[in-house]
Amino acid sequence: MHELSIATAIVDTASRHAQGRQVCVVSVRVGALRQVSAASLRFCFEVVARDSDCAHARLELTEVALRLRCRDCGEEWQSEEPEFRCPRCVPGSVDVLGGEELEVDYIEVEEESECIAPG
């Protein structure tokens, strides 16, 4: 159940940036490697957000696929399997380009119109 801790961390991060404004959307990028269950995270988010500025927020989850690059030959590929060997020059070492994210990308907040005074 790391989803509960992760949901708490997401709500805390979003609320900190909301600075008292009501949050409508919380957008989070989740890498395939993080082994997060989306259903479980949504459930936990709803529970944790209840008494926060995120109480009415929709959680948008974007899954980021595992993308790798070989350090030796420069080959880049997307992988469905946790296989960190270059298919061309095994046993090359690889860099992870994507798939490890657990990142609050943006939030959408309600603003009082009169607060946005130009100039």
């Binding site: 159940m1 790391h2 509960l4 801790s5 992760i6 961390a9 997401i10 805390d12 991060t13 979003a14 940036h17 909301a18 409508c24 989070v28 490697l33 993080r34 082994q35 399997e81 946790p82 296989e83 960190f84 060997r85 046993p91 070492s93 690889v94 657990l102 990142e103 609050v104 990308d105 943006y106 939030i107 959408e108 907040v109 309600e110 603003e111 009082e112 119109s113 946005i116």
Partner: protein
Amino acid sequence: MHRTRVRIVEDALDANNTIARANREDFDRAAVRVVNLMSAPGAGKTTLLEAALRDLGPVRAGVLEGDVQGSLDADRIAHLHIPVVQLNTGSGFGGECHLDANMVRSALPALPLAQLDLLIVENVGNLVCPAEFRIGEDARVMISSVTEGEDKPLKYPLMFRACELVVINKIDLLAHLDFDLDLFLHHLDGVHPGVASMLLSAKTGEGVEEFSAWLRELAARETLAA
């Protein structure tokens, strides 16, 4: 009322990482090296510690035991007459399944850091969650026992990639199991190429000296912090 988008682009676990860095600074100041020991429940973390901690020579070790409930593990370690603190995670939503930086921070006042060279944090038995949460450790070690099967690196890549040493425990049982060690090592190398591994049996003692030596070397590691 209108809606505004606020770009954040921040690791959701930043707050945990900040506390982990504060822990690390405290450990560095006290010149204590810290190991985060992780595994599935029943892989033999406590049994390995009981065997390895007898053989640390001049290294002064302490243990922080993380469990959802109870002090069974801490009681076992206390028999070795080394400082041990039990940390229960049970106050969460039915009990947190991992230690995080803040829990470890809350236990620091109970630890005699000034009298230690090495602190071993035995995490809650779990192959997913502990890998997510840094606690301010110098090294992460995981134990995988041969009774768990050779497919575990493929099923829990996050954990197998998070550690710098994989200890393969219970090798005394190899003769009784279908466990294919070569296949396990092949999967491990695919998930975390080049990661160090060692084979041992905490029960018979075979190979434990290698792990004790690894701990002694870690305790002697210079801190990377300024």
